[in-house]
Symmetry: C2
Subunit: 109 residues, 2 copies
């Protein structure tokens, strides 16, 4: 009943954001990246729930960073994508790409 190796759409976006932010991926930063690049406005709750789920599936790992010297700059939980996470991403993106490839009249050439 599971979808096997395939990721949900939001899971894909989160994983991509974490990869993009490379070593500086944490909740709020991911939220901003998603908004800025993908135009997807997600609540902070939605993001953490998904990150937790991805960690359960061992597609990301997290570790506590250090607090910065900014006002309110408490320690961040930094996320990284595991090899399994990359593989899952490849498969999911590959599947969509295979379906989209060569399709015309959609303007996504």
């Amino acid at each position: 009943m599971s979808r096997g190796e395939f990721l949900g759409d939001f899971e894909q976006l989160i994983l991509l954001a974490v990869l993009r932010l490379d070593r500086e991926a944490y909740g709020l930063g991911i939220q901003q990246e998603l908004s800025a690049r993908a135009g997807r406005e997600a609540s902070i709750g939605a993001i953490y729930t998904t990150l937790d789920r991805l960690e359960q599936k061992q597609l990301v790992r997290s570790e506590l960073g250090e607090s910065t010297a900014e006002r309110g700059g408490r320690a961040k939980r930094i996320f990284t994508v595991t090899p399994a996470g990359k593989a899952a991403l490849r498969q999911s993106i590959g599947a969509t790409r295979a379906m989209a490839d060569g399709l015309k009249g959609l303007g996504l050439a």
Copy 2:
């Protein structure tokens, strides 16, 4: 609480399959296309449920075709993607692409 214009991953694949099959898109055909191109094995029930939801959202339309002269060849319910469906697809695929673009070390160049 709605995700606005964004589609779920399976919805995306279904819409792409319908576009691909162009005028010949119906339940079983979509199932085969998904399996062959995307490597995604979905039950026929999963496919129809999703098609029904997409129709509710007016992202696809369906009409009853004619029965063919094959053994058991009863009338097919033929699906087409509406302009709104194409727009939603563009947006969803565009968002993922924007996030994936320029990412290295993932082998999906």
